[in-house]
Symmetry: C2
Subunit: 139 residues, 2 copies
DNA sequence: GTTTTATTTAGAATTATTCTAAATACGCTT
DNA sequence: AAGCGTATTTAGAATAATTCTAAATAAAAC
């Protein structure tokens, strides 16, 4: 599993900024997440990654995901206390979990709406991160 | 730990509707959560509840919390994969976790803003629940 | 090329939560 | 109020996701 040159550059830059090394494993996992844009858990990524990199370990998958999140290449998504899922969509957006299928969908949010939500905070609160999660049913 | 008559009635009604029994343990835990309106975890509630009910077990605390959530008397709050916290504020609101103090604050959201957020969903999504969590710093 | 430092790896450890099965309590009927 | 069926409590074991540990390997700096 290899990154296209466009993403390869992004990948190396982003890791560089955090003084992290662009290893084979990190690249492999990043490319897997980019490829199939569902919202896989660490364990799903582990299973997928073994297909083309049989020697990878689960601990490495966790480590790599942590590095990718830290460098801002992917983000985490949590629903209640389910396993953490990972998402390569970096535009601000919300998530929707369908109770029936278990699938997660990205929900775009307009900039003005996001600003309004942030403005709902009294001034003594400085938000670093907002997470907006829906759940319900999707047709 | 006893409930005031106002809450006692609410408590009994709510459990009744779900065919759950108003036991001493459930009442005790509900009153603890009402009393100190921070956002305690199951373990914190367990510790507090032992002060006045030393025989209670952790499993019971989990069971009671589940019943209280099911009957709509309290709600759960999850930040990333931290322990689930519990909240007696039933008005729709968001939560803010201060990274520094670890404290959780309720953030009121106006009805029109909430409606706008729900309307951000394309029509094929039917939301049952929305969770909005901020984190950052509070002065 | 050698050294330094970061990363990977397998397996053990941890943490929050759920499960299990026996004991107890609740609430309904008589 | 006694008895009965069912729900709840309890302690401890089990589970699941994740993190930790320490040795082996790989990347970067010199």
């Amino acid at each position: 599993m290899k990154l296209s040159s466009k993403y390869k550059y992004l990948f190396e830059e982003a890791l560089e900024k955090c003084s992290l090394r662009p290893t084979k494993q990190r690249e492999h996992i990043f490319s897997l997440i980019l490829q199939k844009k569902d919202h896989p858990t660490a364990d799903e990524i582990f299973k997928r990654s073994r297909a083309s990199m049989p020697s990878i370990s689960l601990a490495t998958v966790y480590n790599c995901l942590e590095s990718l999140v830290e460098s801002g290449l992917i983000r985490q998504v949590n629903f209640e206390r389910e396993s953490t899922r990972y998402c390569p969509n970096l535009k601000p957006h919300a998530h929707f979990l369908c109770k029936k299928s278990g699938e997660v969908y990205d929900i775009e949010l307009s900039k003005p709406l996001l600003d309004q939500i942030t403005n709902a905070l009294p001034s003594e609160f400085i938000a670093e991160h907002i997470e907006i999660n829906f759940n319900g049913l999707k047709n």
